[in-house]
Symmetry: C2
DNA sequence: CTGTTAGCGCGTTCAT
DNA sequence: ATGAACGCGCTAACAG
């Protein structure tokens, strides 16, 4: 049952039927309702393929995500889906685990001609990648990561880091360690410098000296957190508190501390960033960031762009300290 | 950049270019490789709309996922992506949080033929949904959940449950509690009966009596686990060990135990199912299930179906007990 | 307001 | 083995 059937049944031309159904401007109310009735009765639905072939838009938006199985990315994608789907748009998912996948994506541009916009989730684009993606000639939006050149929705990583470290300072800690997450596959990942700089700034502002031994840099991940904590613990003067760039890293640190026979927070305090769902379950103090909402807001930007409407193209969402039971004042030893 | 461009650049006709790209029968190897080279160089990709309209495939497979932001689903999707993408297929992502979303999906998608196959991740299809989908003749595959009527990849939930409970039994526990996860939006979720039945069977097989007070049923989630543990703790004879249907629920239970001033595993043992990445970080004993691989295997079934090749249509992957530090023999009080 | 006419990009018969 | 031509179902100019 095609548009033609509807047109014939309603005794009008294809064009008129089309206009009536897409409620375009310029159709007599009487004809329109007639067409609609027939369409309804024949339970007609437009063929999206044909419609898009003729009309131009695909009705899809491509998502480029590093690791769909990590909480943060999953939550952002969920947020995107929750507003894009109701808006009638379909999501195309592309995962770029490592540098190779990523290169593949930007070289091949598999999403080419398949989407009206692409949302990059959680990582910044390199110069070369920007040039490539520009080739697609579609809107680009960044969700969960700054991107300067494109509309974005993110948090202020420096502020988040500040909230974390100042909480530790406020509790009275003077020797604060940091587990810094670096990612070989994503050099220049923007949150890292922000979160690290915040540490240095806060410590300096408190009039403390920066001890380089207190900073351990390792790839992102829980096991890295555990390993980093090992190093910190073996120092002559171990820290009394540790600031990790994310909750999963923080939980790795907690495991090491406990295995060493020490207690959290009595012996050592630990704080992370994210407010991962499991942070609440493990009583981890952290700085909450709205992952789902970053996705939802980014989706709204996409909608605005596609509808050529107004919208804030640069959104920074607030973060918030969530105090639980992994932080406490240092032992007044 | 269309097929026409490729054809011209390669000095062949549209028809030949088309045939070469879809590796149809009857193209000189030399011409074919030439066309392929040009296509590669121009990073050409077919327009799915035009292709489908002209009678071909859509080149897409739809994923229906309840909660993309939960570890298990994210991991399965990741597995799917890792084999579908290299095969040149695009993924359409649909999240169906509640029953309503789900209904909407099954009414819409089949009618619009946006995909050549649909993979249902982690839940069983209702009769009505099956009829809808059947109607439109798309392949259906179930990943991470049994589905009898369709090809599937899953684990044996009863076996996983057995491994968990028997571990507790083996350690010497005689009063074992169970936190059973039910989902109002997904009645008949198959893993629940399997995991629950395993508990009853194992306990009975050990010659112990089933105390209904030891079983608490609540919706899935960490907070539920915490609440359930509360109830268990308030019993006159609290259990010495607890079996949860998933790691997140188990971690909720652990929190409650610790907040009550008790220790894990000295006072109470806790075991979950999944081997969530954070289980390793929290030293939680669990039964590991291969989430990523379930997705990958399901994807391979999809490929076989689309290429009308042979393949195992019913795959059950093994689970494995992972002993960590949340379980120990009961106190010989 | 409505009907006619072109394509949109590609798969698929036919011929050659 | 390859090329020419037609049509998939619809939208977007144009006329009228």
């Amino acid at each position: 049952v095609t548009l033609r059937d509807v047109a014939e049944q309603a005794g009008v031309s294809l064009a008129t039927a089309s206009r009536a159904l897409s409620d375009a401007y310029g159709v007599a109310p009487s004809t329109r309702s007639r067409v609609l009735a027939v369409a309804e009765q024949l339970s007609y639905v437009v063929s999206p393929e044909a419609s898009r072939l003729a009309g131009g838009r695909t009705g899809r938006v491509a998502l480029v995500v590093p690791h769909i199985d990590r909480w943060f990315f999953g939550a952002v994608v969920s947020g995107l889906e929750s507003v894009l789907h109701p808006a009638g748009l379909d999501l195309l998912l592309y995962q770029t685990d490592d540098l190779e996948d990523r290169r593949g994506f930007f070289d091949q541009l598999p999403a080419r001609r398949k989407a009206d916009a692409v949302v990059v989730v959680g990582f910044p684009l390199e110069q070369r990648e920007r040039e490539r993606i520009e080739l697609m000639g579609v809107h680009v939006v960044s969700a969960g990561g700054q991107a300067e050149e494109y509309p974005y929705v993110c948090i202020d990583d420096a502020e988040a880091g500040r909230q974390a470290v100042e909480h530790l300072l406020f509790l009275g800690h003077r020797r604060i360690g940091m587990v810094e997450s670096v990612d070989p596959d994503h050099p220049g990942w923007p949150e890292v410098p922000g979160r690290s700089a915040a540490y240095r700034a806060a410590v300096a502002a408190a009039g403390l000296e920066l001890d380089p031994d207190l900073v351990v840099s390792l790839p992102w991940g829980g096991e890295s957190g555990a390993e980093a904590m090992q190093q910190l613990l073996s120092l002559r003067h171990p820290p009394t508190a540790v600031y990790a760039h994310s909750d999963e890293v923080a939980l790795g640190a907690v495991r090491t501390i406990r295995r060493a026979g020490l207690r959290v927070p009595e012996d050592i305090s630990v704080i992370g960033i994210d407010d991962h769902p499991l942070a609440a379950l493990t009583d981890l103090t952290t700085v909450q960031q709205p992952a789902h909402e970053q996705g939802a807001r980014a989706a709204r930007i996409v909608l605005a762009l596609l509808g050529s409407q107004q919208a804030d193209l640069h959104v920074t969402l607030p973060t918030r300290l969530v105090v639980r039971r992994s932080t406490a004042p240092p032992r007044s030893s």
